[in-house]
Subunit: 446 residues, 2 copies
């Protein structure tokens, strides 16, 4: 089970920068109200809570086809459609492409360099492409899909559609329509589930199964968190506590930057996934917090100086791993070098755990608020737990902030300029606006 | 040549959130004084400015040996000793390990999982290990060095030392001493050059040459920036302008978060390298800004919502690429789908550039300060330019803030607790402190 240790958030432990117990007690009323909303599913977007009960047989069947007939599996998607799958892949099958099974590539950009490099190392004859888009009209995903479709047509002719899988809306949208017409295999994503809450749908689960990861384990972990975090009493509900502490730190203490630092290389993208979820859900109405991706011990040599002695604007969340699996012992060599020999005989896991605990304590001693989420091990079950933990926490925090954690109105404006520049009908005035701005700019060029 | 376009930082363009020309004019006196410090090298740590003139023949010679006798090249280092090499590798040889030449691994942690995975895919008989540490006493690097030394001894016996290269202080420190005793090849790093300013020393250049990247091109680019950015007039010096604008935005406008968003997948780690440089150099005395790593277009689907509608605490710096190399044209397919067909006929590079410009404009229209650094192409020369540009900017901004940009006192405290827990002599009291804190913590556990 996930454990939350929040002692270093409290004034009793870290002094004046910490939270008082009565501040949290004062939230009881609001928590109770929001808890009711969750348990009664008052918003239709709470649908993400019910994902753990879904049947995965179709996902597993299609993944098996891919494993049988492909040497490469190329995901086209962006935002949550890429970060979720990537978080799963990096956490549960690190260095995947140097091992057995289909190599996996995730193309979440329109960078021609990356596309060239991917095309130079895969054999399209033995590649399956998974296009992930609710609507099909996301420009980046559409562009790369069109490129791959054309190339697959050249190679496979009328059989090209067999090299694709579309993960999309069950009924509407261009991609659904196109998949039906062309005979492309599909997997559905509930339209009520936004990209950043979609990791436990076919968006993430198909890649998991292709990589040899049990999707059912991910769902079981998520389900466990759903059940274990259903207590209305905030002192007994780690998800609510996590949310309330960050909410109060941001609103009462002006600590608007949340660092997420797992102590494991393989959780780097889980941290990035969390940051997308948190940023896009909560950054609205001039409010929101800035989630900051990090990884330990590495970033102790990068960000720690700033946390320790920089502005008082951060809260640090550690993710601690209790069991790193088969350990590697630091051998008895260089014994006469005192600055190295003290390490001999310890496991690497003892060192990484000691560093995590040391950093936690060093921060606490300086009065810097921090908390620690511990997981027993990095496996599908516990990664599933973390996904659900952070999804509930994000939605809950959004409601605390009185904002809708399920939309993203702020990204539409830029898209319209892009449509204009790419010649999409109806956006001609946008093109003119870009060109006008461009002329104005040049006078400032150095 | 790098170009800085800062129109969207100015009140004339973005309104009240922008900078007034006279604010910048008011900095002339300070800039002139600091400019004198740079040109007269008043601090010994300005040594990094003179790196472009260094001879690289020994680096090239050793790299050639590695290329001749190794299938894998494993770098052990952390912080600047890892981020610099990684930024070079990802920018200039993307997907390197799926191509020709020695595979390259950078181990910058003490995660036993990562070490296991690396050991499972390399053949130590044909591997060269590059240990990077000024002192040799960095715990993470020492631990991994000890593990590799022991394994290489088992395989190569007395020839084990031939499988190592130590990049370290030219005279002092445990690693220098050990390398001399054991007959390990070495490359020197000037003790005046801190890890985060070391990318243009053998720290970054050896990996570059092993990967088939011309180190001389990196240095030539850096040299060009040194010369081109030597004008005392802030309006003619893009590095000073960049620094002053960020400094004024942080100190006068409370915009303390600097997002660095290159529009190229391969510059993701350049952004992370910048963040380490900026964070560890400037996060001191309760001041400093928080650099934020990002990559476009990807993070438009992750962070843009927060930039557009979240708190007024950010400045966005775009890195725009003018030429992405060989382009990929979006083909004429799916013509009846209006939400996709408008893309047909454009290159992916046109789309990524349109998105960059659109995002810039959408932010400006909402009064969000942003600026754009343009580079002609992603090659060694221009990456070298960026390295030197940001190193000067960081040092300059530190001096503007009246802080020493070359030390990192805040990271020492945590190290002492780790020494205590790992049983290093003289740190016994630290161990007790950790254990006392641990007991106190449990009461808060959920």
């Amino acid at each position: 089970m996930i454990e939350l240790n929040y002692s270093n958030m409290m004034e009793e432990v870290i002094g004046a920068n910490g939270m008082a117990v009565n501040m949290l007690e004062g939230m009881r009323g609001r928590v109770s109200g929001l808890h009711g909303q969750f348990s009664e599913r008052t918003l239709k977007e709470f649908a993400f809570l019910d994902l753990p009960g879904k049947d995965t047989s179709e996902i597993r069947r299609i993944a098996q086809e891919v494993r049988n007939d492909s040497d490469a599996f190329l995901v086209l998607g962006i935002g949550g459609s890429a970060l979720g799958p990537r978080a799963i892949l990096e956490a549960l099958s690190p260095l995947h492409n140097l091992k057995q099974g289909p190599k996996i590539f995730i193309y979440d950009n329109v960078d021609p360099g990356t596309m060239r490099h991917i095309l130079s190392v895969v054999d399209l004859k033995r590649t399956t492409v998974n296009v992930i888009s609710k609507s099909g009209s996301t420009a980046e995903t559409a562009a790369s899909f069109m490129v791959l479709w054309d190339r697959m047509k050249t190679i496979h002719g009328n059989n090209a559609s067999k090299r694709f899988i579309a993960t999309t809306d069950p009924v509407s949208g261009a991609l659904r329509k196109l998949a039906t017409e062309e005979g492309i295999r599909t997997l559905p994503v509930d339209p009520l589930i936004g990209g950043r809450y979609s990791v436990l749908t076919p968006v993430g689960l198909l890649l998991a199964e292709v990589a040899g990861i049990e999707s059912q384990d991910l769902l079981s972990g998520a389900d466990q968190v759903n059940n274990a975090c259903s207590d209305e009493d905030l002192w007994k509900n780690p998800v609510y506590l996590f949310s309330i502490l960050l909410y109060l730190m941001a609103t009462e203490e002006k600590r608007g930057i949340n660092v997420m630092i797992p102590y494991a290389d393989s959780l780097k993208y889980l941290s990035e996934w969390f940051c997308q979820l948190w940023a896009e859900s909560l950054g609205k109405n001039g409010s929101g917090m800035t989630p900051y991706p990090s990884v330990g011990t590495t970033d102790q040599h990068s960000q720690l100086q700033l946390w320790m002695e920089g502005p008082e604007d951060k809260v640090i969340t550690f993710i601690r791993v209790n069991d790193y699996g088969k350990d590697i012992t630091i051998p008895r060599v260089f014994e006469k070098y005192e600055s190295m020999s003290y390490l001999s005989g310890h496991g690497l896991s003892a060192l990484i755990k000691a560093e995590q605990e040391s950093t936690e304590l060093a921060l606490a001693k300086k009065g810097k608020p921090n908390m620690t989420i511990s997981i027993p091990a990095i496996d599908a079950y516990h990664i599933g737990q973390l996904f659900m933990f952070f999804e509930i926490a994000t939605a809950f925090t959004g409601l605390l902030l009185n904002i809708n954690p399920f939309n993203q109105p702020g990204v539409e404006e830029g898209k319209k300029y892009t449509y204009g520049m790419m010649g999409r009908k109806g956006f001609e005035d946008r093109k003119q606006e870009v060109e006008a701005a461009r002329k104005k700019k040049t006078r400032w060029k150095v």
